[in-house]
Symmetry: C2
Subunit: 638 residues, 2 copies
């Protein structure tokens, strides 16, 4: 955490100085905004939180409810999401209060007596160490609280506008604020009153029954629900020994349970199999009572008993898997001719079973993917064409998710005798660990993702996948740390320069690259606005191969020690050394001749290049950046 | 973190349900309180924060300033203090924002050219891994903020009462509220008005010029100041390569610097040697300007230069080492005849140089030591005699501190040519690492600290020293964790039962001990109030030698799985297993026949016993606990 360089900070350094639109943010929802986000679920909140870091952009996020969410249904937090929370500054806090999944138990009918269940396996949740962050379970409401705190502390001082329901929108591409949105007040004195808000962009994060989706003519398509589950968040007294462990339980009597312990040491969530639903059922299964769910749970758990003492929430749902074919308002025939103005995210685009703990996580990555792109386009850093990549990238991920979830929920609903191999369920769980952890996403080559021509220079940073952090030592103070944990959600591109063998201060590929980055018009850094800190748009870090005691910080090129803030102080926190106890060059397969690893603001690896390939670096950024002069003329026209 | 067992918690689980005096806490300072704390420095705040956990006790903390501290002078946070912050729930958050010391550099005159300094050593700050927590630097104001948040979230909903200055007190042992305190308002409409508040106990945490100390007739005694230092918190541009590393710098030109980097990546504190002070100086040295301090710093740092861009705070002080001979209002001749009513803590008892980074840390341990004792006596758990241990224990620690600091600050002020051995300073630093880390304290045997008769059963938990945490695995969910990190500042005694070789469910020393703990009148647990949770006063945990997968939680004695809260839910978080990757039995030298380790609410080891020595356990607690019947008759009398 860096502060004091703009003047002494006495209070919480997480509260950033107010700036731009945050200096006089109107309390009432204004008539015109840059971005209007509909819905304060995980997808909407992360998009808004990301945009809250852009002081020049006015973003508002509206919500139908009159206030904060009290009980959320989502609770699974993949390691990938915790990595993301680290970027938003609340990973440690949420870890402290969440339940942590380290292993999963599988229970099956006892072969000797199929009326009894027995534990048959207890595999680790993350046997391969896929992330240094844990897999958590915590109420979605808390995730939203933390995003709300982050945006409130941001330069723009954002807060959700509660009590507004989305009613409709029209798009007029010629208007300065092309999207006209109709909202209806749901609370307060003027309940029922309509409001029109014009926005440059609209993000529909309004859930599975999204009206924004409807307004842009998208539909969810997919299979019918045909299997019902009762779900409850409860506390109980039980002799079932794995009540605090994630379990898949299959009974001989028929039916299965997915048990997810919850935060706080007592609460658990239980998905109880209510069996196949007759197509003629007409929703009758939904009237299953909580008592019936509890009775069924006791039947499945036999010989153990579950004495439920309190139910915080329960529901009955039928599993369906549905997806839209596009995540924005650009029709197939308009592709390449117009850029999107309205986006949909999260459950508005994809719905599926809750049992793989995927929904909130994939939704947040939707919002994270979109947030910075809107920021860069609205700030004039990037051309509008950048926005087309959102739907292109995320629709594929959602498709993948739905295929995975279909397989997992089908397996979960199978009867024991239907399995070809008795360990099929746990084998699937172990083999696909990367997916539920949130790390299978690999974006295909595009304007934002380079071809993997030089992938061999950094095999451990696959292009298109998220940047997998590794330990390093900070040179200025010798502190061991995780390189990736300093990638905060500030909307900046990151250029990690992994040095060649030469020491700092000698002629080297690093020195040449630094000279090019700092001194040429082709360099992406040349686009940085006049007057802004040198690292305002690009966070350029160097990692030396030598131990930190052998790096003379005074000899490190200036480009890695930029002057920042009104006092022109030196930023010392961009110079790292390999940790001899866990060498990042070995851990991530980085060539000893060095490599440049380019990472997007949403933490995905965009490019890997040799140190000397400055032309390649310039070529990669050219379509993503509007130069100073382009921006100047655009401003002059406006 | 455990919650939901009293009903579903939707918001921040750190906010505990209001209870007792917190249900209708008066906003205005009342006329009568159980405890009145004077001063919101580190010692006062931690004492108040500890007391905030006792719902039945009314505590108020008054402060002369009209509001929160803005710039604090203390900044060094020992690992022992971070351990303590863990108990108050904010270790991770303060680590995230603090500067972390991992090594220290020593600079000396270049033997070839004494006008230049050169780096001669760079030892690790904690070469022996004395704690799993780091050594930090962070503004004292932030430490106070976190304590304030903790007490606000506590059942008692405590907040400091700003704008009251202590003017005097009288003690009348016969009165129900024996201490009558006169306060003067320092702010607001009624500025200058006097208030009288009666208290059962008063804690003077009012700093080096303590008026509470004066009121109880204590005086600081010690050596004269004879060496002056200029100190500043500043940001600068410099070519000195260790500006982000803690340094002791001795120049040939004369004079030395102690450099402490500060949180946020830019600020640093510099103690600049202003030389010996003539006894006839009459304080003239205090008029040294910040420009003169900067000039002197540049002289010492030569050939490097320091271009100071902003100074947040500066001062000049002369080193003195002073101590009071008692920390309460019991005169030597009254010892054993009356128990204390007024206590002093922190700088009110001991003053010394700032340069060993000790003051705030030792002060917090003063307050932590006192807080729970007041709580136990006021709740009627313990007899008043317990309070005599505060002065007895902490005065010795302060004496030790002052001896250490005198040695360190004398070394720091020495000229290079005065050292017998050129590495004397760094050798002292390395050899005494335990002291500045905060772990040298070892309380002597007393009513609270048993004789080390059975110390050999758990050599790694020395009686009288703080409980040094080690890794374990929680049985119910397989989560690896640090055993000591669950010792929250809830005022409870902890009894760690390290099992013998037998597995759970078989006849064993553990089973016998559990039966005794739960079923006999001699057991300390028998003192637990009727109607309270079984673990309300004693947190009893068991650690098995087997891997967690080999412990059947259903077979663990009920005493380690108590029913808690209104729903009578099972607490599963008291049953642990050794971590095969780091076996606590090996790490802490615990005998394989098992051992009982008793730990005080302030985290110091009080006793080590064999599993079978229930008589010894009963004997230890007897003088510390008033039985239910004693308490009943005391209540009947009152």
């Amino acid at each position: 955490m860096q502060f004091h360089h703009h003047g002494y900070v006495s209070g919480d350094p997480r509260v950033q100085p107010a700036a731009g639109v945050g200096l006089d943010r109107p309390e009432e929802l204004p008539d015109e905004v840059d971005v209007l986000v509909i819905g304060t679920g995980p997808a909407g909140m992360i998009a808004a939180a990301q945009l809250s870091q852009f002081p020049g952009i006015s973003t508002r996020i509206v919500e139908r409810r009159p206030g904060r969410l009290v009980i959320g249904q989502a609770d699974g937090i993949q390691a990938r999401s915790v990595e993301t929370f680290q970027a938003f500054g609340f990973a440690h806090r949420i870890i402290d209060e969440a339940y942590r999944i380290v292993e999963m138990a599988f229970w099956k009918p006892d072969p000797q007596d199929s009326s009894r269940i027995v534990r048959t396996a207890r595999p680790d949740d993350d046997p391969t160490g896929i992330s240094e962050f844990p897999h958590l379970i915590v109420n979605q409401a808390r995730v939203l609280d933390y995003f709300a705190e982050f945006m409130k502390n941001a330069p723009t001082r954002m807060e959700p506008d509660y009590g507004f329901e989305f009613a409709g929108l029209t798009v007029d591409d010629e208007h300065e604020y092309p999207v006209s949105v109709t909202l209806v007040r749901t609370a307060g004195e003027r309940q029922g009153a309509e409001r029109t808000v014009r926005a440059k962009y609209v993000v529909g994060a309004d859930g599975a029954r999204s009206k924004v989706r409807q307004a842009i003519g998208c539909t969810l398509a997919g299979d019918q629900a045909n299997h019902a589950w009762g779900v409850m968040d409860a506390v109980a007294v039980t002799d079932f020994p794995d009540i605090r462990r994630k379990c898949a339980i299959q009974s001989g009597a028929g039916g299965s349970i997915l048990l997810i312990p919850r935060e706080g040491g007592h609460l658990f969530r239980m998905y109880v199999d209510l069996g196949k639903v007759d197509p003629e059922d007409n929703g009758a299964v939904r009237s299953t009572t909580v008592e019936q769910i509890i009775a069924k749970a006791n039947q499945i758990l036999s010989p153990y008993t579950l004495d439920v003492r309190n139910v915080a929430w329960h529901s009955v749902y039928e599993v369906g898997h549905r997806l839209t074919d596009r995540f924005d308002d650009v029709l197939p025939e308009q592709m390449g001719e117009r850029t999107p103005r309205v986006f949909i995210t999260g459950d508005a685009c994809h719905t599926h079973s809750a049992k793989a703990g995927q929904g909130m996580n994939v939704s947040m990555q939707d919002g994270f993917n979109l947030g910075w792109k809107l920021g860069h386009v609205l700030e004039g850093r990037s051309p509008e064409s950048l926005l087309a990549t959102y739907s292109a990238e995320r629709q594929v991920v959602a498709k993948d998710l739905i295929a995975f979830d279909r397989e997992w929920s089908t397996l979960m609903a199978k009867k024991p005798e239907e399995f070809a191999d008795p360990s099929e369920l746990e084998d699937f769980y172990v083999q696909t660990a990367e997916f539920p952890a949130g790390f299978r996403t690999q974006y295909a080559p595009s304007v934002l993702i380079a071809e993997p021509t030089h992938q061999d220079l950094a095999g451990g940073f696959p292009i298109g996948k998220r940047f997998k952090s590794a330990p390093v030592v900070r040179v200025c103070d010798g502190v061991p740390m995780h390189l990736g944990h300093h990638a905060t959600a500030d909307g900046r591109w990151r250029i990690y320069v992994f040095a060649d063998r030469a020491e700092a201060g000698t002629a080297s590929g690093v020195a040449d690259l630094a000279a090019w980055l700092g001194g040429t018009a082709d360099s992406p850094l040349a686009a940085t606005p006049r007057g802004a800190d040198r690292d305002a748009w690009f966070d350029v870090k160097v990692i030396y191969q030598q131990a930190h005691t052998r790096v003379d910080i005074g000899q490190v090129p200036r480009e890695f020690r930029p002057a920042v803030g009104p006092f022109g102080l030196t930023d010392y926190e961009k110079v790292y050394a390999a940790d001899p106890a866990a060498d990042i060059f070995d851990l991530r397969g980085i060539d000893r001749t060095g490599a440049v690893v380019v990472v997007r603001p949403d933490q995905y690896v965009a490019h890997v290049l040799p140190l000397a390939d400055t032309a390649g670096l310039a070529r990669f950024f050219a379509p993503l950046l509007r130069s100073r002069s382009e921006r100047d003329s655009a401003r002059a026209l406006a």
